[in-house]
């Protein structure tokens, strides 16, 4: 069983991916919009009526949290990098198993897609680490990875 720290969010550009640095939490959430497609034909063998539902749309989002650090990080995406990404531009992302140095070597991809970073919220509280969280709204298809 893989642990939470080994599943990481990578922001990808071309063939390279930069992990969200110093991240602590990650969540991928998918939701399907359904429509009740029951008709007058719809009964079971006893005459009982059960709702029939079909998917008419899908959305997904990614939520993550990370510590805020000063300085630069050439191998990862920092708070400053993510702040600059809050705009209407599409970013490419992958959620993948990670290992190796700083737990940043991308392994098996669980899912990938495109999205827009729509929300970043930072918190600085006395006696605590400064943290930020972000939300990426999926844009277009959610693509499952392929098990190796």
């Amino acid at each position: 069983m893989d642990k939470g720290q080994h599943l990481r969010l990578f922001i990808t550009e071309g063939n390279t991916g930069k992990v969200v640095a110093m991240s602590t939490e990650l969540s991928l959430h998918g939701s399907a919009q359904t429509e009740n497609s029951t008709t007058k034909d719809t009964t079971d063998s006893t005459g009982a009526v059960w709702d029939e539902n079909d998917i008419v749309g899908r959305t997904y989002d990614i939520s993550f949290s990370a510590l805020i650090a000063s300085g630069t990080d050439t191998g990862g995406k920092t708070f400053a990098d993510m702040l600059a990404s809050v705009n209407d531009e599409i970013i490419n992302w992958k959620i993948a198993l990670a290992s190796g140095e700083q737990n940043r070597v991308m392994g098996t991809v669980i899912a990938s897609g495109q999205g827009k970073l729509t929300n970043v919220q930072a918190t600085g509280q006395v006696s605590q680490q400064a943290t930020y969280s972000g939300t990426i709204n999926g844009y277009g298809p959610l693509v499952p990875g392929s098990a190796s």
């Binding site: 069983m1 893989d2 939470g4 991928l28 959610l142 990875g145």
Partner: protein, 140 residues
Amino acid sequence: MALNKLKGQNFRAFVDGSAVPEASSCQVTITGNMEDAKTKDSEGSFGQEQMTSRSWSVQVDSYEATAAALIAVVQQFVSDEKVTVGWDETKVVAGSQNRTPNNAAFARSGQAILNDFTIQANNRTNIQVTRQYMGSGALA
């Protein structure tokens, strides 16, 4: 014949005939959708609700967290194929990982769609997967 109390670990959700692996909890909901059919003929102030249809859903939480299992969740979400979802009591069979269905009187299954899922991966915790299946059609 006396009833025996059933432990939570022996009440399991099944998808396509197999118990959801590494599951920690499941929740089954059957809802009668009601409509107030009170008319002017009705005496008194209380409603007179009538059941117009029934719907059902199954939510299951698990630590199923290998790469293949996580990918399978995403694949199931993007697929338009319905899956068979149900619940049953499991019986003790050595080496079965508590996954052998017992065909209990309360066991039911039907076609369903994966309409909501969350993969939660936090630092220093096990990866958790929550899936919600919405029934489509009758339970049998």
